[in-house]
């Protein structure tokens, strides 16, 4: 297992997971989300080829109600 920080929380995942697989495990495949990895946005088209690495800091965001 590798340890990452996901939306501010420490989490463990299998190694060799890519971002598309992570999104799938979280149940968000097909949802409008955006991912930032270590401060850099990872475009959707690169999710499938971007591997999760130990120590990564991920932010996954959605649009919510706001004024």
């Amino acid at each position: 297992m590798i340890t990452i920080t996901l939306n501010g929380e420490t989490r463990q995942f299998d190694p060799d997971l890519n971002l598309a697989q992570l999104v799938d495990r979280l149940g968000h495949t097909g949802h409008r989300i955006a991912i930032e990895r270590n401060g850099e946005i990872v475009p959707k088209r690169l999710h499938g080829e971007t591997l999760l690495l130990a120590g990564d800091r991920l932010e996954i965001v959605v649009a919510v109600g706001g004024g």
Binding site: L6, N7, G8, E9, R11, L26, G27, H28, H31, R32, I33, A34, I35, E36, I41, P43, K44, E59, I60, V61, V62, A63, V64, G65, G66, G67
Partner: protein, 261 residues
């Protein structure tokens, strides 16, 4: 009389009322209120996905499909230019390259008053990065002009503090901003009821943006309808040109001749 089109960046809109999507009881009420308001542009916030919660639960996007509305992602809760820029870059990724955004950089958690220094910094970065920036700011005409010169596509001064419902506290500053502006001026924040929206439009604002005034009303859907009419009435009154104010009139509306007796 034909009104000039209400254009923001490269698109023309039919409604001059822009609304937020926060603080409603549920998504059904959100949708009903927005339908009653007639708004085409709706603001949304960008927040972390709730990890561990039901990922299949309905979301705002199910009730307000981006295909039916123009989304205006905001930077609510950001207190620095860097946080605001980061948030809007995520919004652009989230919304498939969508460029139209609402920039707001707050200065104080108590009053939610804008930090115009950070706002100017963020605006410069975002405009250079290709965003169409609608910018929330104070009612300072000098800052409003500078934001326009940076390249913001709309300037959005407050009427009064966010969520206060205090109405338009400084119409004369708004008038100065409107007179000098060459981009749309939209009053954003502080509107409390329909007459506030009408006054903003009578001053010559191009539009009004609000959230709490509708969502925190006793009957949000009815207030949304009232706001729609307030904005429309105010716009028509502005175009019609009001009569001059005078202390008294020696010219009654009824004929002075033909009196009985």
């Amino acid at each position: 009389m034909q009104d000039a089109p209400f254009q923001i960046a490269d698109r023309v809109y039919g409604s001059r009322l822009l609304v937020g999507t926060g603080k409603y009881k549920d998504f059904t009420e959100t949708r009903a209120a927005i339908d009653a308001s007639g708004a085409e542009i709706v603001t949304v916030a960008i927040r972390r996905v709730n990890i561990g919660q039901d990922a299949q639960a309905p979301s705002l996007l199910d009730y307000l499909p981006p295909s039916q509305f123009t989304y205006l992602p905001n930077t609510a809760g950001c207190y620095s230019a860097d946080d605001a820029v980061r948030t809007l870059r995520l919004a652009r990724e989230l919304l498939d390259g969508h460029k139209l955004v609402k920039l707001e950089v707050l200065g104080d958690a108590h009053s939610l008053y804008p930090n115009v220094v950070e706002t100017l910094r963020a605006a410069e970065t975002l405009v250079k990065d290709g965003f169409d920036v609608m910018v929330y700011t104070s009612d300072d005409p000098i800052i409003a002009k500078q934001l326009e010169e940076i390249g913001c596509c709309a300037v959005m001064p407050l009427a009064s503090l966010i969520g206060s419902g205090m109405g338009i506290l400084n119409p004369w500053n708004l008038k100065l901003i409107i007179e000098q502006a060459r981009v749309p001026v939209i009053v954003d924040a502080g509107v409390g009821t329909a007459s506030d929206a009408a006054i903003a439009m009578e001053l010559g604002c191009d539009g009004v943006l609000m959230n709490t005034a509708i969502a925190a009303a006793q009957h949000p859907v009815l207030m949304a309808s009232a706001m729609r009419k307030g904005v429309e009435a105010g716009r028509e009154a502005f175009l019609a040109g009001r009569m001059p104010r005078k202390l008294y009139s020696a010219s009654p509306s009824s004929p002075t001749t033909g009196m009985i007796g």
